[in-house]
């Protein structure tokens, strides 16, 4: 079996599993956020007619998509979540502390675990060698009740990445390039396994960027084999007692793709599909109205550090507004202590409370008609961040920072005025 099949088998009554097989699996955690939890609460109470979650330590709620509460309806749904959490005695409830996936990675995920979340970007946890996938509110309500769920064992694809990372080229550029090649349906229902020396060279933060966007190609799971970097991350986080799975000698992958990052340029995904990907040169000079640095894709300390290094001592252009949202409270504090928040604010950027922010269109940074956003987030769907007549371009933190200074899409490799 390959490592995906082995982790699934270990969570099921089966000793061997194969792609296409439908199995019932036991879950290590079930996460829901404020875009999905209230519907799950209704289903849990009114349709499943149950009054106890399977384990109040394993059901995790996060308020992040509409925080600080952005409407009366959002405030009411937050209160519904708080009441449910209290009634059920849930141990982990995060209220404006950051994006759900960042918090899960900082505080909960262990290598080898199997996790379901009511959010499509739950596949992020593959960066630590956990299998995690997004599901809807009914599946999550069933999982809250039973601690188990049905899954189809996916085919696995292996993407091997070699080469030396060029200056100003990052994990975001690689995953955009890969999605451009795979297309937005190219990995539907599959597990995407990333390996090779250029992946091993990445920090967990950057591995998260890659795994986060696997869903944009339709994937069910993303996975990076745990290594010394993973071990160091877990040790620093103070979480131990996990099991690392590996491929058997006869491990089978449906398809293998190879990439070399040595000649990779910064990438841009242009409206309105994530697989509309080109080298940055195609779009250099495109005038921007708003920029966003944040999200579960690129709102971590490493991302903020890259952007701050470019912005230090400079001002953003007069034609743009620039919103910086740290992905969690811990990231925010770390950035504050390192002086990054001062750099952002002195450059003219706004710094907002941790959360999904302008990635989602549920709180700040909403776009008006005809406006153009350049963002480190993961989706550029039409109307996602406001007006259906706005445009969203996706890029790395380095591209966003350089472009904020020039007021137009700018190559960080020497494109700064």
């Amino acid at each position: 079996m390959n490592v995906i099949e082995k982790i699934l088998a270990a969570h099921s009554p089966e000793t061997m599993v194969h792609p296409g097989q439908i199995i019932e699996v036991a879950l290590d955690a079930v996460m829901a956020n404020d875009a999905t939890a209230c519907l799950a609460i209704d289903i849990f109470k009114n349709e499943l007619k149950t009054d106890r979650v399977f384990d109040p330590e394993k059901v995790i709620l996060v308020m992040d998509h509409y925080t600080p509460s952005s409407s009366i309806a959002a405030a009411d749904s937050h209160n519904k979540m708080r009441k449910f959490a209290l009634d059920q005695g849930l141990r982990y409830v995060y209220d404006g502390a950051g994006v759900c996936h960042q918090l899960m990675m900082e505080h909960h995920v262990l290598p080898g675990q199997l996790i379901v979340g009511a959010d499509s970007h739950t596949c992020t946890y593959g960066a630590l060698g956990a299998l995690a996938t997004g599901m809807g509110s009914t599946d999550v309500a069933v999982a809250w009740k039973e601690g188990r769920i049905w899954m189809k064992v996916p085919e696995a694809m292996r993407i091997t990445v070699s080469g030396q990372w060029p200056a100003h080229v990052y994990a975001k550029d690689l995953i955009l390039k890969i999605i451009g090649d795979l297309t937005v349906k190219g990995a539907t229902y599959k597990a995407l396994c990333f390996d090779g020396p250029a992946v091993q060279a990445l920090r967990i933060s950057e591995r998260m960027t890659i795994c986060n966007m696997a869903i944009e190609a339709g994937a069910k799971f993303a996975y990076v084999q745990p290594d010394a970097t993973t071990e160091a991350y877990m040790k620093k986080a103070g979480r131990e007692g996990y099991r690392v799975f590996t491929d058997d000698a006869d491990a089978r992958y449906e398809r293998t793709m190879e990439y070399d990052v040595s000649a990779l340029a910064p990438q841009i995904a242009f409206p309105h599909s994530v697989d509309n990907v080109r080298d940055i040169s195609t779009f250099a000079g495109t005038v921007i109205d708003e920029l966003f640095l944040g999200a579960c894709t690129n709102g971590r300390f490493a991302d903020l550090e890259i952007a701050a290094a470019i912005l230090k001592g400079r001002k953003i252009a007069g034609n743009v507004r620039f919103l910086v949202t740290p992905a969690s409270k811990d990231v925010y504090l770390q950035a504050l202590e390192a002086g990054l928040i001062r750099i952002f604010m002195e450059s003219g950027a706004m710094v907002s409370a941790p959360g999904c922010s302008a990635c989602f269109g549920g709180s700040g940074g909403i776009l008006g008609k005809g406006e153009r956003l350049l963002t480190t987030a993961n989706r550029n769907f039409r109307g996602r961040v406001g007006s259906p007549d706005s445009e969203i371009y996706l890029a790395s933190p380095a591209v966003v920072a350089a472009s904020a200074i020039n007021g137009c899409i700018t190559d960080p490799r020497g494109g700064l005025r």
Partner: protein, 157 residues
């Protein structure tokens, strides 16, 4: 058997288009349903209860929001025919008992064509053409036959 008229969509219809982010916090699916495909004029002005949505590849891609499948059911969408569905939307729709039909020839169907769907095939009453539908895996078909995952679990646990 399902009968209805076709409302056509293209490839990669994402769940943000089906139901925008700022409507997800409304208290009930009934209140959200009024915003279904709010920026698609051919749906908002042309859809009637019992119509069949016909789309290309990867219908329902993007967010895990089950509300997207729920508002389609709430509005009375009789079935969604597509060349393919995104994974999370597929589960959500089946869980709610919304009829999803995979049909490689979906793009041959035109706006307002009258369709009849049986267990074996889709018949286009307007053109007289018939198309094969791909069978669902038996386990998934069983959930749909029960009317969704909750009635299925009530019957099978």
């Amino acid at each position: 058997m399902i009968e209805g008229k076709a409302i056509i969509f293209g490839n990669n219809i994402d769940t943000d288009q089906i139901l925008g982010a700022h409507h997800l916090v409304l208290p009930t699916i009934g209140e959200m349903a009024g915003y279904t495909f709010e920026h698609h004029a051919h749906f908002t002005s042309g859809f009637a209860k019992g119509d069949i949505l016909v789309a290309g590849d990867n219908f329902g891609c993007g967010s895990s929001r089950e509300q997207a499948a729920a508002v389609l059911k709430e509005r009375g969408v009789a079935a969604v025919i597509a060349r393919g569905f995104a994974r999370i939307f597929f589960r959500n729709a089946i869980n709610l008992g919304l009829q999803l039909i995979v049909c490689p020839e979906a793009s041959e169907i035109a706006a307002k064509d009258k369709l009849t769907i049986t267990a074996e095939k889709i018949r286009n009453e307007t053109t007289g053409k018939e198309y094969a539908r791909e069978p669902l895996p038996p386990f998934v078909a069983g959930i749909l036959k029960s009317g969704g995952i909750i009635p299925y679990l009530q019957k099978n646990r």
